[in-house]
């Protein structure tokens, strides 16, 4: 604990409605709600089905990667970036690799650049496939279209598994080298399409 702990701030009350708001019902749409996707909580004040007030509450997906990164090497922090947004892990890796290369002044070979683009686009495809599925299920389609979308996504995830051994969280993007590719990416994309 730090030596001196500052006094806690006078917090605004967490309830948004008062006794005068007779019509409003205050509900906490917690992180377990399907449409919040396990990420954040909303305190909503509802009048029937109309949302009158809303206060978002954050922190449920906060894993303090900043603090962990203080104690790991540059390469060791790469798997954490996978899990920041688990649906586009290659893109997160790429952003982190770009920043490390900028800080260290490393030049990346051209083949690596091409591979990164191809694999990031595949990641984006599987991200958008699940986007369609989640969009339909949030609109009330009860999950079957989600499974159809996930079935299409599985083809891309099979490709990822053959490349790196892991379906979603593959830290293939080392800051120094290109991801290793046992099969030609062009043929794989043709298979997916």
């Amino acid at each position: 604990m730090s030596e001196q702990i500052l006094e806690t701030v006078e917090r605004p009350p967490t309830r948004m409605t008062s006794r005068l708001d007779g019509e409003l019902m205050e509900v906490s749409m917690g992180p377990q709600h399907p449409s919040t996707h396990g990420v954040f909580r909303m305190n909503v004040a509802l009048e029937g089905e109309i949302v009158r007030k809303l206060k978002p509450v954050f922190g449920y997906l906060h894993r303090n990667h900043e603090k962990i990164g203080e104690n790991t090497s540059y390469l060791g922090s790469m798997p954490y970036t996978d899990r920041l947004d688990y649906f586009c892990s290659m893109t997160n890796n790429w952003a982190y690799a770009l920043s490390v290369e900028k800080l260290a002044g490393i030049e990346v070979p051209e083949r690596a650049e091409y591979l990164r683009v191809i694999l990031a686009e595949l990641t984006r495809l599987q991200n958008h496939a699940s986007l369609i599925g989640f969009l339909l299920s949030d609109m009330g389609a009860w999950g079957t279209p989600l499974m159809y979308a996930f079935r299409e996504r599985e083809k891309i995830l099979d490709l990822f598994e053959s490349l790196s051994g892991s379906r979603m969280m593959w830290s293939a993007n080392c800051p120094l080298s290109s991801p290793s590719m046992p099969v030609s990416p062009v043929r794989c994309c043709a298979h997916v399409a």
Binding site: M1, S2, E3, I5, V9, F58, K67, G105
Partner: protein, 228 residues
């Protein structure tokens, strides 16, 4: 876009009395930042946002940095007379710098599509004086970021519309991203602790029965129980 020196000169001309320094960041990235004093920070920020040439209207990121008390050693070559001969002698000076907290803002321009311009503000110290002016009235996107700096580093922002913890739960005390933060011993329940986790666990749990065959785990004193 203008260089840091030009921005500093124009900001000093626009806001009389402002003390702006350039903190250089040597290395391949080469992103120097402007260190602004706390009294004139709002005025300088308003100038940066409203100046027609700069138009830095997007605050993309605001983070905190924790500097503990540190000693900086500088070695310079000084001409001294040694044994009657003038020589170049290494003279090492130590400078003790007390610790402070910083808030670093990254500013971009959407209208002119240039940037980033990085500004910093330093607190007086890491305890009672950890206050900074809030730049939320100028850049609305700094609202949540400053709440995060308050939550994780403990920096109070004056004039912030809604300053409370954002990532940690409301009743949490202490500030996790500080360099001298130590996590509590009994934070996570570990079913089979060993090594240093075991050392910490011994202080919090009841003695385990002998039949277990497990190592004797005794509390530090008799009054400490499982829930104590």
């Amino acid at each position: 876009m203008e260089s840091s020196d030009e921005i500093k000169a124009r900001a000093k001309a626009a806001v009389p009395g402002a003390k702006i320094d350039i903190v250089s960041n040597p290395g391949p990235a080469n992103q120097p930042s402007l260190l602004i004093d706390n009294e004139h920070a709002s005025a300088v920020a308003r100038f940066l946002r409203d100046d027609p040439a700069l138009r830095l209207d997007f605050c993309s990121n605001a983070t905190g940095v924790d500097w503990l008390d540190r000693t900086v050693k500088k070695t310079v070559k000084v001409k001294k007379v040694v044994d009657g001969v003038e020589k170049d002698v290494d003279q090492t000076t130590e400078e003790k710098i007390p610790g402070y907290l910083e808030a670093v803002y990254h500013l971009y321009s959407m209208t002119h599509k240039h940037g980033p311009v990085i500004i910093r503000m330093r607190t007086a110290d890491r305890a009672e004086g950890a206050r900074l002016p809030s730049l939320t009235p100028i850049w609305r996107s700094a609202e949540f970021q400053e709440r995060e700096i308050f939550d994780l580093y403990g920096v109070r922002f004056d004039d912030h519309p809604d300053l409370r913890r954002i990532l940690m739960w409301d009743e949490f005390e202490d500030y996790p991203m500080r360099k001298d933060y130590r996590e509590p011993d009994d934070y996570e329940f570990e079913p089979t602790p060993h090594d240093d986790v075991l050392e910490k666990a011994k202080q919090h749990y009841n003695p385990r029965p002998q039949l277990d065959g497990a190592e004797n785990i005794t509390p530090r004193n008799e009054a400490e129980t499982l829930n104590g």
